[in-house]
């Protein structure tokens, strides 16, 4: 549905996007992930025909974004960063204006608007002036606008930024539900969000794609072994030296709080060292309160990938 090939965009003297290529298939929810200034918004602006690329090509639903801009724009619903709206208009007036621009047939307009109000949970503010809405509700008005013409593709630039935790959850659920009927490309720098709603992640940093995979594949591909947390009663020093002696263990960090001590054990390789740790503790007759392996989070991957080449 979206195909991007060797896309490069430079502003006056900043290279914002450099040789980016990726594809988004029909029905996918793909997250564009990257730190501030990575080039997420720039990529989306090119895809939505707001500005052209310096070089490279991009097509949306089979139409080229540069030569067939009008057709591309008919296929997409775009929620720009910060959700720009006309503050003086009422919600229903605004949606009516947008529905006309998007050429929703006049007979269907009202029912479409009602449906979008309903889906985004903003029916109760239908007659309110946009300027008086809270941030979360403005976000929803923006989202309702993207759905008006029932586009095949939704491009959402940081759809949950600035919302409270409850609203974030609701918007995520909404996006997830939308993903059943639409192809979604969204950008974010909130990692749990990607894990929760995206089927695939594209990580970009300084304008380049640095990783592209499903969240779970990215997790398993994270280099470096596991980290194990444990809580043991016994003499801290003896425990520490016993743990360090286990083959594969590279580092033992401990904190002493009287009888029960906490340790963090780092090991390399793929081997699960929990078994060895357990046996070692039983052999010494210490009492084990907790033994837990920490899974690498997308946060670690993100940190690792986006900091390693700078």
């Amino acid at each position: 549905m979206i195909k991007v090939e060797h896309l490069t965009k430079s502003y006056a003297n900043v290279l914002a996007v450099e040789d980016v290529s990726f594809e988004v298939g029909e029905g996918e929810i793909v997250g564009l992930l990257g730190p501030n200034g990575a080039g997420k918004t720039t990529t989306m602006r090119i895809l939505t025909c707001f500005m052209p690329a310096t070089s490279g090509t991009a097509s949306v639903a089979g139409y080229d974004v540069f030569t067939d801009s009008l057709n591309v724009r008919k296929q997409i619903g775009y929620l720009p960063e910060n959700v720009p709206l006309y503050p003086e208009m009422r919600v229903n007036e605004y949606l009516l204006f947008r529905a006309k621009l998007k050429k929703v047939p006049s007979k269907e307009r009202n029912s479409r608007i009602q449906e979008c109000l309903e889906r985004c949970g903003i029916r109760e503010v239908e007659k309110q002036i946009i300027g008086t809405l809270s941030k979360g509700y403005r976000q929803r008005v923006g989202l309702a606008d993207t759905l008006l013409h029932d586009p095949k593709i939704l491009i959402l630039d940081e759809p949950t930024i600035g919302l409270d935790p409850n609203q974030i959850r609701q918007i995520r659920q909404l996006i997830k539900a939308l993903g059943e009927k639409h192809t979604v490309l969204l950008s974010t720098h909130i990692l749990p969000e990607v894990e929760m709603i995206c089927g695939r992640v594209i990580i970009i940093n300084r304008g380049k794609v640095v990783a592209m995979d499903t969240p779970s594949n990215l997790l398993t591909s994270l280099k470096g072994g596991a980290t194990v947390h444990l809580e043991v009663a016994g003499k801290a020093e003896r425990i520490k030296s016993a743990l360090s002696a286990i083959p594969g263990v590279t580092k033992v960090l401990g904190s002493e709080n009287g009888d029960i001590n906490n340790f963090v054990v780092e090991a390399d390789g793929d081997k699960d060292i929990r078994e060895d740790i357990f046996k070692c503790i039983v052999k010494n007759n210490w009492i084990l309160y907790e033994l837990r392996r920490e899974k690498a989070s997308l946060e670690d991957i993100f940190h690792q990938i986006t900091t390693q080449e700078s």
């Binding site: 006056a12 724009r73 204006f97």
Partner: protein, 236 residues
């Protein structure tokens, strides 16, 4: 072209939802009313000639106030991004906005028709120059609006747009006024470029094709340049 009415209606509604429209209409009414009664008492002549001559000066100030927000505000608030990523052409947006501002300009002039009714009641005005003057006002308005629209497309700041618009219109006015009565190709050229000479013929009761062509072609030119400016975001 199907989006032109949609854009036009939104802009018109926006005008009447903000104080700008009312302020401009009231200011124009007060100022033109003042000059109307002044001219009436000084000349004791049932004619609109003198009060309409003054109105070009007033309109040079008020028209950029009408047009200042058209594109500057969209750039400032970022709504240009939602607007231009909808399936609309740059021309539809620019032309819809042009028509809305021109429409408001017309609304602003409309109450002055009362003066004509008043003149017909107190005296026997020559209706020819009045009609031609209004045609002139409407055409001049199109050009003023197109200049204001262009200026508004060049900045994000409405105040800057208004000031540059007013200064540009003043220069266009002064240029022709300054060389009035002098000879030579240079002053002829300036007379043609300036709006003063063109407007003057209308107030004398003449609708000269040369003047009509002047206003219409400059309007088209400025609207066209505005479209190019909007497009130019793509090359920056």
């Amino acid at each position: 072209m199907t989006n032109v009415p949609t854009v036009f209606r939104r802009e018109m509604n926006a005008y009447f939802l903000s104080p700008v429209a009312y302020v401009v209409i009231v200011v124009f009414l007060v100022v033109s009313g003042y000059f109307f009664q002044k001219a009436l008492f000084i000349t004791t002549e049932a004619s609109l000639r003198y009060s309409l001559a003054i109105s070009q000066f007033v309109l040079s100030i008020l028209t950029p106030v009408i047009t200042m927000r058209l594109l500057a505000e969209e750039s400032k608030t970022g709504t240009i991004e939602t607007l231009m990523t909808a399936p609309v052409t740059d021309f539809e947006v620019v032309f819809g906005k042009f028509l809305a501002a021109w429409g408001l300009y017309g609304v602003m002039l409309a109450p002055t028709l009362i003066y004509i009714a008043f003149l017909s009641w107190v005296g026997n005005p020559d209706i020819g120059p009045i009609i031609s003057s209004y045609i002139g006002l409407i055409l001049m308005g199109a050009m003023f609006v197109s200049i204001g629209l262009l200026v508004s497309s060049l900045t994000k700041n409405q105040i800057v747009a208004a000031v540059i618009g007013i200064v540009s219109l003043m220069i266009l006015w002064v240029v022709g006024f300054y060389v009035a009565g002098t000879e030579g190709w240079f002053s002829e050229a300036l007379k043609y470029i300036g709006t003063f000479g063109h407007w003057d013929t209308f107030t004398k009761g003449l609708v000269d094709t040369r003047d009509v062509v002047y206003y219409v072609s400059l309007t088209a030119l400025f609207v066209f340049i505005t479209v190019r400016v909007i497009e130019s975001r793509k090359w920056r």
